[in-house]
Symmetry: D2
Subunit: 355 residues, 4 copies
Amino acid sequence: MSVNTFGRTFRFSTWGESHGPAIGAMVDGCPPGLALSEADLQPFLDARKPGTSKYTTQRKEPDQVKILSGVFEGKTTGTSIGLMIENVDQRSKDYSEVAKSYRPGHADYAYDAKYGFRDYRGGGRSSARETAMRVAAAGVARLVIPEVKITAYVSELGGDEIDRETMNFDEISKNPFFCPDAWAAKRWEKLVDDARKAGSSLGAVVECVAEGVPAGWGAPVYAKLDADLAAGMMGINAVKAFEIGDGFGAARLSGEQNADAMRPGEDGPEFKANHAGGIAGGISTGQPVVCRVAFKPTSSILTPVETIDSDGNATEIRTKGRHDPCVGIRGTPVVEAMMALVLADHKLLHRAQCG
Amino acid sequence: MSVNTFGRTFRFSTWGESHGPAIGAMVDGCPPGLALSEADLQPFLDARKPGTSKYTTQRKEPDQVKILSGVFEGKTTGTSIGLMIENVDQRSKDYSEVAKSYRPGHADYAYDAKYGFRDYRGGGRSSARETAMRVAAAGVARLVIPEVKITAYVSELGGDEIDRETMNFDEISKNPFFCPDAWAAKRWEKLVDDARKAGSSLGAVVECVAEGVPAGWGAPVYAKLDADLAAGMMGINAVKAFEIGDGFGAARLSGEQNADAMRPGEDGPEFKANHAGGIAGGISTGQPVVCRVAFKPTSSILTPVETIDSDGNATEIRTKGRHDPCVGIRGTPVVEAMMALVLADHKLLHRAQCG
Amino acid sequence: MSVNTFGRTFRFSTWGESHGPAIGAMVDGCPPGLALSEADLQPFLDARKPGTSKYTTQRKEPDQVKILSGVFEGKTTGTSIGLMIENVDQRSKDYSEVAKSYRPGHADYAYDAKYGFRDYRGGGRSSARETAMRVAAAGVARLVIPEVKITAYVSELGGDEIDRETMNFDEISKNPFFCPDAWAAKRWEKLVDDARKAGSSLGAVVECVAEGVPAGWGAPVYAKLDADLAAGMMGINAVKAFEIGDGFGAARLSGEQNADAMRPGEDGPEFKANHAGGIAGGISTGQPVVCRVAFKPTSSILTPVETIDSDGNATEIRTKGRHDPCVGIRGTPVVEAMMALVLADHKLLHRAQCG
Amino acid sequence: MSVNTFGRTFRFSTWGESHGPAIGAMVDGCPPGLALSEADLQPFLDARKPGTSKYTTQRKEPDQVKILSGVFEGKTTGTSIGLMIENVDQRSKDYSEVAKSYRPGHADYAYDAKYGFRDYRGGGRSSARETAMRVAAAGVARLVIPEVKITAYVSELGGDEIDRETMNFDEISKNPFFCPDAWAAKRWEKLVDDARKAGSSLGAVVECVAEGVPAGWGAPVYAKLDADLAAGMMGINAVKAFEIGDGFGAARLSGEQNADAMRPGEDGPEFKANHAGGIAGGISTGQPVVCRVAFKPTSSILTPVETIDSDGNATEIRTKGRHDPCVGIRGTPVVEAMMALVLADHKLLHRAQCG
């Protein structure tokens, strides 16, 4: 069974390959009466789109999204919303090598093992191009949760971390790395440049903070808010790890260090810390929801890697073409998108049960 | 909406609170004709049950599972399998303090915020007692995937890691910590003892390896095998982080370090490394599936913590009673269980689509 | 894949065979804070239970339901509600004939074809005993929709219809047939008696009316309120047909005859007819929701029927034992139950999307 | 919650309104390696498309389907299949009357009650135009079940039934009514013509037979093959009733009349009758699956009908424009489509559980 749909109540489904005529999404379950136009979605796609700096792939995809249904006189009707982006920059490229050999780190071998063959052009369905539709769908999700402010940023690149003392969210849009630390952004220029020139690539950690989530979203047991976030984030291409709150760090604290003590506040309780990342027992506590996501280094590298071909013979492969030296950078808007999609779904889930 | 069901094709649902008459599960979608009796499930429940050493809670729950349906003449019939464990050791205890005040780290406040009130006896539905039913359901799942061997163990406790050079799976059953490193197990005796005596608690990291998973299980995009594992693991009580393969470590590698080079093997490809943890593009590669899960320290501690009561007044709370000083220890069989449940589901999902 | 769960937001799952130790259900997604005790469920089970008149099976099942979870201090907590009925009257009977031969009209052959074998005791999972748990779960669903009044009744038995001019809902509880027409009930006594004595059985049509459903429940396209009702009703044992409103009769009307003209009313529109059965485009109109369900005659009859045994040899079979001469009678509370379950689900679905 | 997706394992989702730029579908879960091109889908769309005779609407929609993803080198890849049809014949029409007043029989009032407003152009999402995408998706489903032959036909139109003694499937394609009885087709010409000229409309009954379905598809309890068929068929626009096998007729038979006696056959059992319509206990028996579906008369009629406007004032409405005098006719390919979609899903469901 193939599953190209995400969500329970606010759901979206995606289709399309990087080298087909278009990619698309359908958003289902959206409340009626929300003002929606293409202009609400495009800025998020522009943030993710390739070719915006020399630190990302030089492919040129304008990624102009069209709304094909579900909106009437500028408002969502409550029916399914069809979204589409036409593929533009598909260079006619020689794929004979990729067709024959398995690129380590990519899904080439796994797809062949599963399906018997694969669409090898630009990674087919396993291409991160699919994430453009998550970003578009999330543009709709954001309208469902106007009370929430979501901010994602790269907190570590190639092992080099930001300085949390001096970080500033205003910096995020001022550099090509979604980096909240101007000094780190400076250092990363060289890091990424060096990696690219060496035919290598780098990993990154992306952090995401959602402010304004009220206490009570989420659910116990199998739709825990953090479990759904984990599923959403781990489903992003190249993601290998997920933490909520202190994550692995919490495993090194004592019980009393880890307790987020509560004090009476103006407007509900105040917490003296947020080790939990805003979620307890799968349900939001009213604190900011904070998670962290690890992106592996881009698997498409110029440096030759040992592999086998589809006949099982030893060979090696270098992946030419225009690739992101660090997929984590352009993954940042996608992390934001998955946060928005999960929260919109949980807002509606909560309303279904608790009114 | 409350979601007490997990899985897509092989599914299970659970019900029950720690202080009700019983807890139960229903397993749905199980293939017919598998030999199944209570004796197939009990050993896994015994591994998880409390009171087996002085390093876990001293509650005595025999956790005898009964099969109430879905089995005829010793074989699964293909219909839903009802499982039940009667609750035995519910001490009539004074819950007046917990009823009134929110225990930091617990779901008390979040439940109240969501539902308006809560079953405060022993944590109600948020009690880790629910995980006994996952372990029981997983006993059925294991019969679906006889080709797979699953091993989970504590790889770090209170910040103290095992030695991976000398670790040995044979050790796991020889100490009360599911620890594959005899020396570490020795050290942990004191660590846990000290924490308990100090009215404190410890976190842990549990690692899980599934050997024998064939290439091709999983799916692209939104039912990625690693995304489903993440959702399953993050849904376990007290879990705060999930990694597949190198996880956060992968974000610090270069592309060529992270590539799992392939060589021709006897029986399909051989991989020279397993940074990916056995999954590429959401689909298994035939390598061992390896993941890591972080458990926060037990939130129920004797040390007083600042909190508020349900009227919003400042107070403090110490959680008396018989609690695990480190929930990660007894979480180990639960991690194994979720691995089995996810893999059984994906085996059937794969068969549905690909025959 | 076996599917023992029904519903989208308000969901229930059932397990159990007629000859196992118990049958059970889990209700999920129920709103918190509803007053619920076993006394709320038992009257509906009593209405369905066998042995209440000589016109139904003489098996004695007290069908005492127990609530095992999800309720605290008399109120639903929002977590999963475990329900169970212990099986009592399982006569140790000789099943050797049923084990060997396929009873026409029953699922015996189909189960063997699907699963390779079957639990032949009392029909196993295909027994209508399962419907007791739907009735129990519906007792919970009714609490979710206090604004709705549901009435089901037998409108035709063995081809003999009620008189719609003189029918009176007050009569329904006064005869053993859930018949709103006292004269018809009188005639049916003899009809059913004759059938039973002849070793035969009879079919029936059950009609169900839900008053108080507000306009706006349901959804376009694939969760149409009538489509969900159809799925619910067709899933009841022995049901072979479903109509909403005029049903097949609508196919014989002209467009202007079938139009439910609207006039201004006190409190929203007034309709001059209800050919549509209260649903247009899958969404409720505020009129009573009216549907009709056909039950085939009981397949278990004393009259011998030609069949084959599991080795493929020709034989014949007569089904001894205590069987309902007309399953449609005791099907009536089950039809009511499915109506309640579908409406409760759609109330929450509507709230999720439209607030 | 809006649900624009149908199916469990083989699933499809649709989007689009009749007056938007396009309508589309996504097929998910399709097995890999099936030969698929647009030419496999177009004939089914051509059978459904408007304007093929004077007995259907005179709108001209070429309904050319495009495959946008999920196919590579002529074969399905196992990933999601994007389908799209551009809307062509949207006359710029005056919708001011429909915008203001509720058309009885249509979903106008129900949509307003649910969503607060509606896309009134051509019925918006409630237009039967959506069914074109079911037909397209079903073209894919048919490839999954090559062993099954599906035939649907109009068995009754305006109350005038075919002669079952002389009916002949070869006739179905020879008249504009999908009628297997040449004499009836002749009579229906006048019936439909008269209705159209009178500004009226007619209902119809469509029957569907699936031959070649092996014994064992389907499932007990809540995914009964007949319950899923009922949900699928009742979800088609204008459908008001569903029968499997003898349907309501079965309620008038005695137990022995209704029993489908079994005899040893060459190749599995032979049945002496098929009152059950090929399904017992929710599972196929190997006999033809036979169902019947009632379409109400077209609600869009020229004859004025009393109604109210959106301000609640009394008015009347006549629906001008190019409408089918009998929607059941063009509903026939849609009934076939839903049969194919449900069977494909159940083939994969069966394979998931039973291998």
